[in-house]
């Protein structure tokens, strides 16, 4: 890899290698059931782990069990084999009363639920409670396991392929070996294994320069992209918008259409500076998905921005309605993404392992 190519890949690599340190404690009720005590033996009270932002919880459950739960049970002198006491499919994670949706990428969960990520002042390590009983099937999908996670992941990959290319051919044409390597790369968090196959599904585009102001770079990058580049039809983007659950707060500052009215200003983003920020409720995020073309509608040179994508997603027809830009922050991979960032740059550098852009929108 020559220096220029390596430099161009740098943001992508940093995104891939992003990790979150977690601090796990076992739910008291589970501790009591397994060990007849709410207090765990000394070295096992807390378990620390570094987990990849682009990874998924079912892929770390095995390690959690192997490195923490199994030794803990063995040490407690229990004669019942640990396999019969704890099954991987029973393991689920909780943050401040919220069951974590295990089919969401880990980094996305963090960005949604932890306060003040956009201020760069968020909780680390991320303190989670581990449960091994009573998975709340009304809230999260039952029986989390590696195979199911792989299937759900491939469904997202197929969808991303369809959005980018108009068909799922690239994914379906992968050889069995390539598929296995792709999934292996994901599970073991191996950059080389994953990206070897990723570049088959998503051929690199020519233009991966830094995101300068879209108007300045528009003409030249438009030309460069046209020359022999693999231009996707559209980019897969998902927005996760924090809603207050009530339309009262800040509605007058907010864009007029649909769910966008609930996000601006009045929610638990802590903009009032008066008290502690309200804990974000995972069930109150509105999830919306929209394929976003690289260029603004009716233009072949103006790159579409995150703000454009947001408006498209929420059906904000009024081009001058920009209230959300002042009232909301857009977060991805723990970074506050400027609203004027071109989607094309994000599509090349800021995607998650499932090839989607996952953007969290919170009130500020």
């Amino acid at each position: 890899m020559d220096y220029r190519e390596s430099e161009q890949r740098a943001p992508l690599k940093r995104v891939w290698k992003g990790m979150i340190p977690i601090e796990l404690q076992l739910a008291a009720s589970d501790a009591i059931e397994l060990l007849a005590s709410a207090v765990l033996p000394e070295p096992f009270q807390t378990f620390y782990m570094l987990i990849p932002r682009v990874g998924y919880l079912p892929f770390i459950s095995g390690k959690v069990k192997e490195r923490w739960l199994d030794p803990m049970l063995a040490l407690s002198g229990s004669r019942v084999p640990s396999d019969q006491q704890i099954k991987e499919t029973d393991i689920w994670f909780e943050y401040k009363g919220q069951a974590l949706k295990w089919h969401y990428p880990i980094g996305l969960l963090y960005d949604m639920l932890v306060s003040d990520v956009h201020r760069g002042d968020a909780e680390l390590p991320w303190s989670l409670t581990l449960h091994v009983r009573k998975l709340p099937t009304a809230k999260i999908i039952a029986q989390p396991n590696g195979q199911l996670m792989r299937d759900m992941f491939m469904a997202m990959i197929k969808e991303a392929d369809f959005i980018r290319n108009g068909s799922t051919k690239r994914v379906m044409d992968l050889s069995k070996n390539d598929q296995m390597q792709f999934l292996d790369g994901l599970e073991t968090h191996s950059y080389e294994k994953y990206f070897a196959i990723h570049s088959i599904i998503v051929p690199p585009t020519v233009d991966s320069r830094a995101p300068v102001q879209s108007s300045a770079s528009s003409t030249s990058s438009g030309g460069q992209k046209a020359r022999g580049a693999m231009q996707p039809k559209a980019i897969p983007v998902r927005f996760y918008m924090q809603t207050s659950g009530s339309l009262d707060d800040g509605a007058k500052d907010a864009p007029t259409s649909g769910a966008a009215t609930t996000s601006a200003g009045g929610n638990g983003g802590g903009g009032n500076g008066l008290g502690a920020t309200k804990q974000a409720d995972i069930m109150q995020f509105h999830v919306s998905q929209v394929p976003v073309a690289l260029y603004r509608e009716g233009s072949s040179s103006e790159l579409a921005t995150v703000a454009d994508a947001f408006k498209l997603c929420y059906g904000i027809a009024d081009q001058t309605n920009d209230a959300f830009i002042t009232n909301c922050a857009c977060i991805s991979h723990g970074v506050c993404v400027p609203w004027e960032s071109p989607i094309s740059w994000l599509a090349d550098n800021f995607f998650y392992a499932d090839c989607f852009l996952h953007m969290v929108v919170v009130g500020i």
Binding site: K101, H103, T137, A138, K139, I140, I141, A142, Q147, L148, R150, D151, M152, M154, A155, K158, E159, F162, I163, T168, M172, P236, T243, S257, G258, A259, T262, M283, F285, H286, V287, S288, Q289, V290, P291, Y314
Partner: protein, 212 residues
């Protein structure tokens, strides 16, 4: 209309027309029909009915005289006398990605348990053994996946939509209708056509309605 693809608005129009045309017949046959609007103002269609298990249900015996001839080789009763009390929900939701509707399904038993096991649901409602085999053979876990309902945010089964457009293209409306609308399937019949194709996999059949 860019058949078989729909815009969101066209989908909502199709839902309106479907409900107008099919609701009476569906409700007559025991299927509840509801047009729902999500908090984001998006419309989707919900059909709900009781689950009739394919196997004969053991009915509690009140009187000896009530016991009918028990023929295990015979067909299962059309309406099990005491069905499980389980109900099945079919949610038709528009997908901006695939530009066609996607079918979300879940079964709720009488005890309130939500069944999200694709195999178990197929066992309950997919009549045709060939169909069940074909569904199981679809790569990456079969034709029925599990994910969050896009509007409700809770887990549901769903039919993978990749091939829907292809299937729909193959559907041809009666010549009289083609003459009238100039296209193979118009908004009046789009959802009916789509539900006939997708619904078969998960035990949903539409009653026929007379054309006026």
């Amino acid at each position: 209309m860019d058949y078989p693809y729909l815009t969101c608005r066209e989908f909502e129009e199709c839902v309106e027309r479907f409900v107008t045309r099919y609701r009476p017949a569906l409700e007559d046959s025991g299927t509840r029909v509801e047009q729902q609007t999500s908090s984001a103002g998006r419309q989707y269609l919900v059909l709900q009915r009781a689950v009739y298990t394919k196997r004969a249900v053991s009915t509690p015996v009140h009187n000896v005289e009530d016991i009918e001839d028990d023929d295990p080789a015979g067909p299962a009763p059309e309406h099990a006398a005491d069905d499980d009390g389980a109900r099945i929900e079919y949610h038709t939701v528009y997908s901006a990605t695939w530009r066609v509707p996607v079918l979300y399904v879940r079964v709720v038993t009488s005890s309130g348990e939500v069944v999200l096991d694709g195999e178990r649901v197929c066992d309950m409602v997919t009549e045709d053994a060939e169909m069940r085999r074909a569904m199981a053979a679809v790569p990456f876990g079969g034709a029925l996946g599990v994910t969050d309902h896009p509007e409700l945010g809770v887990p549901f089964l769903y039919l993978h939509p990749c091939h829907t457009a292809d299937l729909l293209r193959a559907v041809v409306a009666p010549p009289a209708q083609q003459e009238e609308t100039g296209q193979s399937v118009g908004p009046d019949e789009y959802l009916a056509a789509w539900l006939s194709l997708s619904g078969a996999a998960v035990g949903l059949t539409l009653p026929s309605i007379g054309y006026c």
